[in-house]
Each structure stands twice: as structure tokens, then as C-alpha cells.
Amino acid sequence: MQLGLNADQRQVLDSVDALARPFLSPPLHDAGLALESEELDAALIENGFLDVMAVEELGPVTAALVVEKLARLPFAVEAAASALVRPLIDPELPRPLCLVEEGRISVPLRFLRPGATVVVVGPSGVRSFAASGGLIASAQDDTLYAYPVAFLVGLPEAMTVHDVDPAEVIRSWRVAMAAEAAGLLGAALASVVTYVSERKQFGRPLGTFQAMRHRLAEAQVATNTAYWLAMRAAASGDHADAAMALLHAQDAARRVCYDYHQFLGGMGMTLEHPLHLWTYRLKLLTAELGGRGAQGLAAAEALWG
């Protein structure tokens, strides 16, 4: 048991911090729901931050730490699947990577666009294809998620078959989503804490009212533990750990997305405050891999048979 960062991990995270510095605040003129940055994406690739899992002294925990940190940015980056799942399938697969469960292809897919790699995971195995324009239907412009999303209209005749255990891919997919959710939870909490510490009503900051303090403190407990469960699941490679980590993160996300906008009052309804950049990503992650019930069943199976 050693729960501190090692020197390599600290160095990687410091470098990610340095690289992410220009992207810490959302551009003021952009009031869209989802924010992306090609520049940030390119910088991450160039510096190899999405490939740390394969580096022996770094491994999956470092990859999860990178994913968690990147999720804290207001910009949506396709990091989780690339950093934590792609190395198991084929490290050369072109990004972005869109993971989809066999038989559930009608869900909105994050980062789906022409050229993206779609990976279909299920009982038939793990198969992938490069998405072409003809297979993609765009979501409506004012889609209520802070990820870029699109729909698959079908699967191609031919897909590349990967010789990898689908259960392992789903396990690492859960870890990836748990790590991403942990970062989003952390950033959303920080954003709300700042707002309610400054906003005054009845002559004092909102954050002095116990009605809010206790719910925020409970959110801190859920956020902190979502982080630790995600990291432990990355480290252990255990199926139960992965399912519990995502279950716990989805549980937390479901609670805080409502509370946080509530605490912002009028501002919580606007696009002027950046909170939605984290919460409206979390909302979509609560549906990932079938949501809490599916994670619960998977965890129960792994724990007790």
C-alpha cells in the first residue's frame, strides 16, 4: 500500500499541468455547450500523454491520473478511451476512439466523427472500423451534452477483428470512465465552491448556509472516494473493482449534477457560468455502459458469482 504519487507520476502530472495551463478557462465569447480544442488534442498526442499506459514504469494508474486531470479542463478531450482502453486493443488505432456495446449502438456516441475509430465490444468479440460519413448521423445542434456527440446509423459489412477478451476491454472501459468522471466531479465541485463562496444573499455568502454546506460536504466525500476507487481499479485490474468504481462515480454524478445547478440558482440555468462544461459531461457518463444498474449487476457477479 503506497497511496502517494511516485516521482514518475508526479513528473507526468506536472507536465500535463504545464501543457494544460492555456486551457484552464473557457473562452469568454464561446457560449456553446461542448468545448473542444484541436490545439490541446495535438499537444497531448505530441507529448505522448495518451500513451503512458504502455510505458512500464508508468502503467494504468498513471494513465488514469492523466485522464482524471484532463477531465478537469473545461475542454472535452477524448483521452479516457485512448489512454486506458486502446492499448489493450491496438495502440495504433486512430483517434478519437468511440466505444460502443454490441446491441446498443443507438446511444449518442461521444467524439463520433468521420475518421474516428469505432470499437464494438460484446459477446461476438471486439471489432473495430473507421467511421465514414455515411455511417454517421449528427446529433441536433443544441444537443444537451457538453461532449460532441453523434449517432451511428449502422455497422459496416466488414470490421477488423481484434484478438482480445471483450471482458477485459469492458473492464478497462469502466476504469476509463470512472477516472474521467472523477476528474469531472472534482472540477465541478471546485467551480461550485468558488461561486457560493462569493455570491451573497441575505448579506452573507451562500456557502455559509448549512443547507448548502452539508450537501457540498457530502459531495466532497463522494468525489474523493470516486477518485480513489478509480485509481484502485486501474491498479488492480480487477473486474469487481472496475464495476464498483464506475457504479460509485455514476451514483455521485447523478446526485451532484442536480445539486450543483440548484446551488447556482439563476446562474445555474445559464450558459454564462461554465459549470455545465463538467456537469453536462457527467450527465452523459451516467448512461455509459448501461448506467448504475448494469455496473451493479457486473460488480455483484464479480464479487459473489
Binding site: L5, N224, M231, R232, A300
Partner: protein, 381 residues
């Protein structure tokens, strides 16, 4: 960052398990139903802790200069986990080795160390904590039990309540008021429980036999040398020891063990195929594991020599949520467990409902998290 126990730590855990297996009586599970504060378990613990001391398992985590093996915080954690899931065969003596001993070492006079540490290390003494009063629960700083210095003695008058172990304890770690200056007017006095003027009355409870008491102090007179630390230093000392106490009981382990037991019973009677039960069980397991990792993160901080602050409140609240979830799971899906079908689950339920109340209420932990972890502006008083 790595989450595996070392080989040595695994070996240490197995050594404890083997020892418990070999030394606890065959009917232990039924026997431990009495509860850690019961006369039966207290008497058992007085023998059992002597044996633990003899084989070096009473305080191996203490530093060598205190007679321990200097094994450190992870080993203390492992020791606590194994004892607690076994039904805490140390009874109330777990407090001695978790925080009373180390607090005596840090703040005690040479005479106090000489008098109190040795019986602790022999496994022979039992302490109680005289903290809460009828009008001073969460608002501990409003306590009123008065200690007046008179001719070289403290004369103590007042009342404590919900005091664990008081019925059988040898010594009370007593918080008294020596001046009206709220937190700065509180002083610790170490009071032998056989001092004339002390009356103990057991309170019938939901949490096990003999667990909580009222303690009355009527002109209880102890020498000035019984004062622990300086006058007015109690708040600092208690803050130090409560941080250890909050981590002291690895309740998440028992909650998880109880959950596994409940699942086993549900499997035996064929009910565990129901998806809604499986999902709820998984949610409980995730909360137990969440509490575990939060607690371990605090232990890591202690190991790194960093001051443990409000994150112990966060870990504690995670534990309360886990305990609550497992208690509710058992009641909903195995109601017969609390009516005789499972002594173990009944024992867990009795311990479980204490989680959010003892050692500072859950709501106080939320206040601490809000102010000190989130750094929200403080509430006006």
C-alpha cells in the same frame, strides 16, 4: 501509487488471523454477541489482552521507545481491521492501544506514564472517555463538569452521559471545566473510577449490553497531579487524539464482512438471483470499498508524517454511509437477521448505527469538511 499489501503486511495479517483462530473460543461468534462493552466481553478481554501482550500483538505498531515494535500505521490498520471484524475481542482496550497510550506518551508527566502505561502494555487496564454531557454533545465546548483547584486537589462536580465502558473502566479520561473561557477553559483530569463520589448508571441501549452510561461526579477529589497537560490544553489534546480515534475503528471492514455474510444467507435461500437485490448489494460493497480507500488515504498521510486534518472527517463520513447502507440492506432483504437468524448481522447492526454518532456526529464531520476541506466561508455564530 500502489494498492497491494506487501508480503510482510500480508504475513502480519495472517499471523493475527491464525492467532485469533487458535485462541478465540469455539463459541466466540455467539459469545461476542454480548458486545464489546459487556461485562462478559470485558472480563474475557482482560484475559485475552494479556495473551495478546505476551505474543506481541497488543501494540506492535507503537514505537520501540514505547516498547512496541515500531511497525507503523499500516500494521496498526491491519491489526484494527482483523480485531474489529472478529468482533473486537479486545473489548474497550482497543482505545488504549489506538490513542490513550500514544496520547499519554505525548502529553503525560513521567509519573502519569509510569502509572498508566504499564497496565496498558500488560493488557490489564480499561479506560472510559468522559466527554459528552447532557447539554454538551456535538457542542462539546459547552461542557460544564467543573474541576475546582483547592488545596492541591481538584474537586470535581458534574455529569457525563453516553459514556462507553464506564461501568467497568479503571480510569476516566475526563474533560472538565476549569474556567469559563469556552474551549480554553477545558482541562483533562485522569480520574480513577473507584474514587469516592463517582456514581455510574447504565443506560438501556440499542447498541449492545452495558455499552453506555451516565456518570455522576459529586465532590470527587483527586490530587492536582491527576491533571493531564496544562489547564486549558484539553481541546488541543483531544483534537490530536480524536483524529486517531476517527481512524481507529475500521468499521468499513465489518460492514463489508456483514454484507458478505448477508449475501451468503440470501444465496442459501435462493433470493440472490433477484436483480434488484444484487444491484443494491453491489452499491453497498462500493460504499464499503469507498470508505476503505478514503481511510487508507488518511493512513498514508499519517505515514508520510503529515498532520492529519479534516480528511479524516471525510473518511469517517464515507464510513458512516457504508455502515448505513449495509444496515439498511440487511433490514430490507433479511429482516429475520435482527430477530435471531444471524447473531453476526445483529451484532453488526448494533455497532453500525453508532457510526454516525460516536466520536463526533456525522453532521459535525460535514461542518469540518465544509470549512476545512472545501474552505467554504464559515457560518456566522
Amino acid at each position: 501509487m500502489q494498492f497491494e499489501w506487501t508480503e510482510e503486511q500480508d504475513a502480519f495479517r495472517h499471523k493475527i488471523r491464525d492467532f485469533l483462530h487458535a485462541n478465540l473460543p469455539d463459541d466466540w461468534e455467539k459469545f461476542s454477541e454480548h458486545g464489546p462493552a459487556s461485562p462478559a466481553l470485558t472480563a474475557f478481554a482482560r484475559r485475552f489482552c494479556v495473551t495478546l501482550a505476551e505474543v506481541g500483538l497488543l501494540f506492535p505498531h507503537w514505537p520501540q521507545e514505547m516498547g512496541g515494535e515500531g511497525l507503523g500505521p499500516w500494521e496498526q490498520q491491519i491489526l484494527s481491521e482483523e480485531m474489529w471484524i472478529a468482533g473486537e475481542p479486545r473489548g474497550g482496550q482497543y482505545m488504549n492501544v489506538n490513542w490513550i497510550g500514544p496520547t499519554l506518551e505525548k502529553y503525560g508527566t513521567p509519573a502519569q506514564k509510569a502509572r498508566y502505561l504499564e497496565p496498558i502494555t500488560r493488557g490489564e487496564s480499561l479506560w472510559c472517555q468522559g466527554f459528552s454531557e447532557p447539554d454538551a454533545g456535538s457542542d462539546l465546548a459547552s461542557l460544564r463538569t467543573r474541576a475546582m483547584l483547592k488545596d492541591g486537589n481538584y474537586v470535581i462536580n458534574g455529569q457525563k452521559i453516553w459514556t462507553s465502558y464506564a461501568g467497568l473502566a479503571d480510569t476516566c479520561f475526563l474533560l472538565t471545566r476549569t474556567s469559563d473561557d469556552r474551549k480554553k477553559g477545558i482541562t483533562i483530569v485522569l480520574v480513577p473510577m473507584d474514587t469516592p463520589g463517582i456514581t455510574v448508571r447504565q443506560i438501556p441501549s440499542l447498541i449492545g449490553e452495558g455499552d453506555i452510561h451516565e456518570v455522576f461526579f459529586d465532590d470527587v477529589t483527586v490530587p492536582e497531579t491527576a491533571r493531564f497537560g496544562e489547564e486549558g490544553q484539553a481541546w488541543e489534546i483531544v483534537a490530536y487524539s480524536l483524529r486517531n480515534e476517527r481512524l481507529g475503528i475500521p468499521r468499513f471492514m465489518l460492514a463489508r464482512a456483514a454484507l458478505d455474510r448477508a449475501v451468503m444467507m440470501l444465496q442459501e435461500r435462493g433470493d440472490f438471483a433477484r436483480e434488484y437485490i444484487r444491484i443494491e448489494a453491489a452499491r453497498c460493497a462500493a460504499l464499503c470499498e469507498a470508505a476503505g480507500t478514503a481511510n487508507y488515504a488518511v493512513v498514508q498521510k499519517r505515514l508520510d508524517g503529515l498532520a492529519i486534518g479534516a480528511e479524516s472527517s471525510s473518511a469517517r463520513y464515507a464510513t458512516v454511509m457504508a455502515e448505513r447502507a449495509v444496515c439498511e440492506f440487511v433490514v430490507e432483504f433479511l429482516p429475520e437477521a435482527l430477530a435471531g437468524a444471524s447473531p453476526y448481522l445483529k451484532m453488526h447492526h448494533q455497532r453500525g448505527i453508532v457510526a454516525g454518532i460516536a466520536a463526533g456526529s456525522a453532521e459535525i464531520q460535514l461542518n469540518i469538511i465544509a470549512s476545512e476541506v472545501l474552505e467554504l466561508p464559515r457560518e456566522p455564530r
